[in-house]
């Protein structure tokens, strides 16, 4: 019995160490937002908790830099939301539509369409980043939400996932629906979409986090400050820290935290959906 206890203690020790490894860096960011910047540039992160959090939060979220006055934390938060939600929504809608067409219709060019779509799984955006940028520039979509979101949607992950899921739906359902005289649109909306609810939720969480966390593409596409997302703004933060008279660590760290908190909350609150979606979508 005593031996068993020792190993349990060891297990917990490992898990606690792992948890600390994960959480300490974020606590450090938080601590730095509570003390004055002048103290940070002298001593760096410490164990003291100051009273500057409110002040830094106000500066980060509402005070703008730049001539236009549009580059506040709040506007970046808005852009991040639009990117995260727009991306997740676009991807799921397009993916479901395409997957439905491929799985449930006899279509001569379905196989061809299938391959056209699934080839996109092979090459991530990063390897064709510059030409994608040129295309967006030719289309005059730099510094627009469309230019930010649509090229990111041009991949088949969601289509692939819904195709797998639709194929696991019992075939009798379609037949039953047809006997009831339900057309394809009715079947899709009344039966397939409700059936897919959990999957849609899981996908939405994964895609939201993925979209929210995009960095390279927004860095290239958005050069107007009022189009910055929070994650893209990190680059600006680092540059401003370099050149500032007194580096504003408090303000910067608040922005970094705001960039992290929404997707973390989504993942933590919808944990079971998210885990299910993640581990099953990749099978």
């Amino acid at each position: 019995m005593r031996k068993l206890k020792l190993s349990t203690v060891l297990d917990h020790a490992v898990l606690i160490a792992g948890s600390l490894f994960m959480i300490l860096p974020l606590l450090m960011l938080l601590q730095m937002t509570t003390v004055p910047d002048t103290e940070i540039i002298r001593t760096g992160p410490s164990l003291t908790i100051g009273d500057q959090l409110d002040d830094n939060f106000r500066k980060a979220m509402f005070e703008a830099s730049g001539f236009s006055g549009e580059n506040t934390g709040l506007s970046m938060l808005k852009n991040s939301m639009i990117l995260g939600i727009g991306f997740a929504f676009g991807k799921i809608v397009l993916g479901m539509m395409a997957a439905y067409a491929i799985v449930y219709f006899r279509l001569r060019f379905a196989t061809f369409a299938f391959w056209l779509i699934f080839t996109t799984l092979l090459l991530p955006l990063e390897v064709r980043i510059l030409p994608s940028y040129e295309v967006v520039q030719w289309l005059g979509m730099l510094n627009t939400y469309q230019g930010l979101i649509i090229p990111l949607i041009a991949s088949a992950t969601a289509t692939f996932f819904f195709r797998q899921f639709f194929r696991s739906v019992p075939e009798e359902l379609v037949e039953a629906a047809r006997i009831d005289g339900a057309g394809p649109v009715k079947f899709f909306i009344d039966i397939l979409v409700p059936l897919s609810q959990t999957m849609i939720a899981a996908m939405f969480i994964i895609m939201f986090v993925y979209g929210w966390n995009q960095y390279l593409w927004p860095t290239m596409i958005t050069t107007d400050e009022d189009m910055y997302t929070l994650v893209r703004g990190i680059k600006q933060i680092v540059q401003v820290l370099e050149g500032a008279v007194v580096p504003e660590f408090g303000r910067s760290n608040v922005l970094a935290l705001v960039a992290v908190i929404p997707p973390v909350l989504v993942v933590v609150f919808f944990q079971s959906w998210f885990v299910k979606g993640l581990t099953e979508s990749d099978k």
Binding site: D11, H12, P25, M97, R106, R128, P131, A154, V238, S252
Partner: protein, 293 residues
């Protein structure tokens, strides 16, 4: 498609159209442009260009620096992959074992999944600040004068640490779910057959987790190749200097910072070939995986 499906023609075409249009414009067109640009040298403003055949590729393969970056990318990817898999596996095995606080541990160990790579890089920049970074002081305590941005290995270590920190949670989630799907009967049988815990792990658990591991291997390599861009960019503060960099970062530096469209496109094409090879490898692994289970 064996389904007893509908026979309408116009509807599925309508359904497919948006996706196909987007893919055509934002996937196939850029891919063709990349291929085409890689054979030219172009004035960035678009006034002049010269067809140079394979010159961009020849220049790249002849460049000592490009080969150096390629080898760094390989080493970097292997280290990030190994450490994030190993740490995640240990944590998953422990989290699967404990009874008390299992849910709390799970949450604490997985939330970093949602942190964006550049934020991980930003944290590394603070941790390794030359004047007062906590980790700089930690290494200083052991007599190592840690200099991120100066010493190549120190900078590389910061990048690897940030990348591993960011990647452990994904692996943890997959390993844990893999462990939890091992049937109870198998576990009980193993308990009888094998007395030592480590013996049980290596003889039973590890082989059962192997398919998950193979799958994660590819995920992790892809992550280290592409998604670490944000970490690299923030840790070097946008100044390549003598800092380590990955192949994707080099595409960005040459194409976007230096406006060398031809050279950067040729690098993109090389990366495409690399990813294609990886994907083919992955498909074969998935085949094997089905075979295992």
């Amino acid at each position: 498609m064996k389904r007893a499906g509908f026979t309408t023609v116009s509807l599925p075409v309508l359904l497919l159209l948006p996706q196909l249009v987007i893919i055509a414009v934002f996937f196939y067109w850029p891919t063709v442009v990349a291929l085409q640009s890689s054979f030219y040298l172009q004035d960035p403003f678009g006034f002049g260009s010269t067809f140079v055949g394979l010159q961009n590729y020849i220049d790249l393969f002849g460049s000592r620096e490009y080969r150096r970056i390629a080898s760094f990318t390989v080493v970097f990817s292997l280290l990030v992959t190994f450490f994030s898999l190993a740490i995640a596996l240990v944590l998953a095995v422990k989290a699967d074992k404990v009874l008390r606080g299992a849910r709390t541990y799970r949450t604490l160990l997985m939330w970093v999944y949602a942190v964006a790579p550049p934020v991980a890089g930003f944290i590394a920049v603070i941790m390794f600040n030359q004047s007062w970074g906590p980790l700089t002081e930690f290494f200083g305590f052991f007599g190592h004068d840690y200099m991120v941005g100066v010493n190549f290995n120190d900078t590389a270590f910061s990048m690897i640490l940030a990348s591993v920190w960011k990647q452990v949670p994904v692996n943890f989630i997959f390993f844990l779910s893999g462990l939890q799907s091992i049937p109870r009967s198998v576990r009980e049988a193993a308990l009888i057959d094998n007395r030592s815990a480590s013996g049980r792990f290596w003889d039973v658990t590890f082989p059962l987790l192997a398919p998950t591991g193979f799958f994660l291997l590819i995920i992790n390599i892809t992550y280290s190749l592409f998604d670490t861009f944000g970490i690299v960019d923030i840790v070097v503060k946008g100044e390549p200097g003598n800092n380590p960099m990955t192949l994707v970062y080099k595409v960005y530096v040459d194409g976007f910072r230096g406006n060398d469209l031809g050279g950067s496109s040729a690098q993109s094409v090389i990366l495409m070939v690399l990813v294609l090879a990886l994907t083919i490898f992955q498909f074969r692994l998935i085949d094997r995986r089905i075979h295992y289970t």
